[in-house]
Assembly symmetry: none
Homo-oligomer: 240 residues x 2
């Protein structure tokens, strides 16, 4: 866990309630819960937001509404403006990854500004920010919607948090070499009997090839036992 509080997501003049709901869902997926709305076009609350939030109602219920970007960011120490285009403003430009790193290391609360669906943030909104956040995107097809921009930023932020339960792999350790050897010996015996090793002068190379192949998977002790069962079955078929 980082010391800094999670960032606030600020939607500036969002148009459709549905998109506000989707943004809330995107946030909560990655552990962000504080949403602020600056002058939502259709007022607030908006009946279209809830269904689109797919259960992220807590985010919508706690969302606060402000008149201006300045008011919405008044208690924040670091403001990032999310834009796709370059503006006539000279400020540092960071990727979501870099922004997430900064947010986690910053002291104080960060805010991330997202503009209206069609037009994006105005120059005056961007002016409030200290840093510009731009998602590096296909130069020939840049078409991120609001919730997608939010989810990428939230996702990057969550990477540094413990909340994201690390995928616990339940992979068994490889079998001890002795057990692997037993399996290989069993197979070699069967193949020898079946005339696989021919001509004789190729036998060492062929055996090495087989050993290499069977060493590669790093089968667990259980898997080695399964394979020995397979071999035993093939050696002595007992059709039912």
């Amino acid at each position: 866990m980082s010391a800094a509080p999670p960032p606030v997501i600020i939607l500036v003049r969002p148009q459709l309630g549905e998109n506000i709901g989707k943004a809330a869902r995107a946030m909560l997926n990655f552990g962000l819960t504080e949403m602020r709305l600056v002058s939502p076009r259709d007022g607030w609350p908006n009946p279209s937001a809830g269904p689109a939030a797919s259960g992220a109602d807590i985010v919508l219920a706690n969302a606060r509404v402000y008149e201006s970007v300045a008011e919405a960011t008044a208690d924040c120490t670091h403001v990032y403006a999310t834009t796709v285009r370059k503006r006539g403003v000279t400020k540092p430009v960071v990727t979501p990854e870099e922004a997430a790193r900064q947010i986690r290391s910053d002291v104080g609360r960060s805010a991330l500004l997202f503009g209206p669906e069609r037009s994006g943030l105005e120059t005056d909104d961007v002016a409030v920010a200290r840093t510009i956040l731009t998602v590096p995107i296909n130069p020939e097809f840049g078409s991120l919607n609001l919730a997608q921009a939010v989810i990428l930023v939230a996702y990057e932020w969550s990477k540094g948090e413990a909340l994201a339960s690390p995928p616990s792999t339940e992979i068994e350790p490889p079998a001890p070499q002795g057990e692997l050897d037993g399996m290989i010996t069993q197979l070699e015996g069967m193949l020898d009997e079946a005339g696989f090793f021919y001509p004789p002068d190729r036998t060492p190379v062929t055996k090495r090839t087989l050993r290499t192949m069977l060493t590669k998977p790093a089968w667990s002790a259980q898997e080695v036992r399964t394979m020995r069962g397979v071999l035993s079955t093939l050696a002595k078929p007992r059709p039912r």
Copy 2:
């Protein structure tokens, strides 16, 4: 640019055309263009897909339809199954970030499987994959939709594209999935004849265990051929 080709996005039994369109849009934003569809519920083409793609029509126009996951992945050397839940299958689990790194360093073409909107991938779909891809998510609110899962993976993949690191490798790429399937089918046929699959109600689980084991080593085409030679020899011994 990495040496490996961009991954193929495979939507398995997608339900709504709208979601197929959104996935296409998500892909193209980050430079992915090859989509495959396995048994889309409402057939293909689907009139709802285009409007949702917001201009990513090229992805939809080139999308190919397959009857099964096996066919859709037949030419791919690395298959990742995107799931949120843990399955009773022991395979390596990676994050989108780790998957992206692997895909870029792999030799051969990778495929990323995404399941149907509601239910996600079936256990048998997951069995085809070598690796499981899980997005680390809020444990109390995991609600990623299809296009969001696609965009996170595509976004991670695109990050590495600026970085030049040609994989210097003398390792043979894994055999295409279709060749691996052929080998597994051959072994299953032999084991079936030999009475290995007993009792019958355990057969699906046993087959899945074997498939998982044989998918694990990432055998090259040559190695798969060698193993098929082994199997053929054991099936029809010709003692000398």
